[in-house]
Amino acid sequence: MNKKRLNFFPRFLLHFVIIVVSVVWITPSLGLFISSFRTRDMVISSGWWAVFGRVFDFSQFTLDNYTQVITASGMGRAFINSLMITIPSTIITVVVAAFAAYAFARMEFPGRQILFVLVVGLLVVPIQMTLIPILRIYNTLGLAGTFHGIWLAHAGYGLPLGIFLLRNFFSALPRDIFESAFLDGASYHTAFFRLALPLSVPVLASLVIFQFLWVWNDLLVALIYLGGTEQVAPVTLRLSSLVNSMGQNWHLLTAAAFVSMILPLIVFFSLQRYFVRGILAGSVKG
């Protein structure tokens, strides 16, 4: 209805505004992407938009920047490290959160209400409040600079949201299916593994994506608990030190940045639906 009501001019204006906004939003990333395939001399002598003048001249593009950042600049190693950090962190968080969320949603125990309110409160605690005490303990235990240490730390920081998200989902599942399962003699464990978990695959997927992106993109936690050593540094940490050491070598910096973003971008484009669902469920609704 409303589309018909608008006459030509506002309609044209609407499209114009939307296209301008889209161009503004996409241009910075596009510039990075294009520059990462240009040679050093090209990047220095002209803006990346110059490629549009001769799009079909493929000789102006090169993969050398990537070869160099992946090998010499250590982005390849960092990529592996990021995987080594992100995958276990994500699994630990989601598994631990699922058990706790189920207890909060479907089991009776004293202090249930107050403990859950505590979890909701912990959702917003700044990580900065925890850095010094934990780093000290890590230094004593020899966990600083190790993957084990950072897996647990990420689990700690990811749990409040994980528990919150899953608990809300579990408690919204219809009561009847649990009651009839119990009448058929199912234990709490059977109900958890055979009913609650299979029914929550979409929300579990959202949580996995959330936690994966959060850990992959994290800088602060890695900076504090892993330090700058190249053996363990993830892509974010490596990239941020390249920003300092490479200065104006934009052909390399852009390639390094793209290496750090490729996996999140793939996850994002292929699983955007779940990501959006997670965001919608994660915001405390009004």
Partner: protein, 295 residues
């Protein structure tokens, strides 16, 4: 029903078994450190001597800290205002075109990118070179088409740098706001909007008198989330300027006190201040959650 009760009695300890890993991790990584950091904030740099509130006095009187507070305030106002309002406007206008999902993906895309990656992207956009040489940063290149062009050092110039950084934050987070607000907007009954149009309301009136009031609760949620985010802003500043040229923010200052100056008392005090400013948001969240549970 009876059987369920009996079952519950028998498995009394099981809830705790399910909760134990989570409670241990939360206790170790969040609850204990919070208490410990509050205590450390009352001790000296090496956490040996009790110094009362002097770390807090430092935080509220020294110039670098005051600049950080001012900048966090700038972030708080402009970041929150623009992420929420642009998110709302995008949600409403994109709803009217057929290629909605495409433009939404474009706006939402930066959410997948790390702040460090975004930092590199925008440092490149903002890069500047002396006048007379080809500008390779998009922003200066656009400006160079105008007369009397002087290249602007966006991240160095004290009049522009904080806003240049804040815009990077907006670029990342608008998509998040848009997604939530768009879901809420689509939840408004279309008959309601149609009816008010039939009654002679123009688009502006529909927006201010129907859409905004209907979406108020969601707008509040999004704004709270943005405020919590912006108070903790760290990565963007750390990567792009590291607080130089008066762009310092509280979280980056805390990192410096901790790692560069090894002053754990001051670093802890700064962290506590950060927590204190976030606590009102925490209360809002808990209250909202309780209300939601009751209904």
């Amino acid at each position: 029903m009876n059987k369920e009760k009996i079952l519950k009695k028998k498995v009394d300890m099981w809830p705790w078994a399910y909760l134990a890993p989570a409670l241990l991790i939360l206790g170790f990584f969040l609850v204990y450190p919070i208490i410990n950091t509050i205590y450390l904030s009352l001790l000296d740099a090496k956490s040996e001597i009790f110094v009362g509130l002097s770390n807090y006095i430092f935080a509220f009187t020294r110039k670098p800290m005051l600049i950080a507070f001012r900048n966090n305030l700038l972030w708080l106002v402009f970041f929150t205002l623009f992420t929420v309002s642009l998110g709302l406007i995008f949600a409403v206008i994109f709803d009217r075109v057929r290629y909605e999902s495409v433009v939404k993906s474009i706006i939402f895309l930066p959410m997948a990118i790390s702040f460090v990656g975004a930092g590199v992207i925008w440092k490149f956009v903002y890069s500047y070179r002396p006048a007379g040489v080809a500008q390779i940063g998009v922003l200066n290149a656009i400006l160079s088409n105008f007369k009397n062009f002087e290249p602007v050092g966006w991240l160095v110039n004290k009049g522009t740098n904080n806003f240049a950084l804040i815009f990077v934050g907006i670029w990342i987070w608008v998509g998040f706001c848009m997604v939530i607000l768009s879901a809420s907007y689509k939840g408004i009954p279309k008959e309601l909007i149609e009816a008010s149009r039939v009654d002679g309301a123009n688009e502006m009136q529909v927006f201010w008198r129907i859409i905004i009031p209907m979406m108020k609760p969601t707008i509040a949620v999004v704004a709270t989330t943005m405020i919590i985010n912006v108070l903790k802003v760290f990565d963007i500043v750390y990567v792009m300027t590291n607080g130089q040229f008066d762009t310092e923010v509280i979280a980056n200052r805390m990192y410096k006190e901790m790692f560069q100056f090894h002053n754990f008392g001051r670093a802890s005090a700064i962290a506590v201040i950060l927590l204190l400013v976030i606590i009102p948001m925490m209360i809002v969240n808990v209250r909202r959650f309780r209300r939601q549970e009751r209904s």
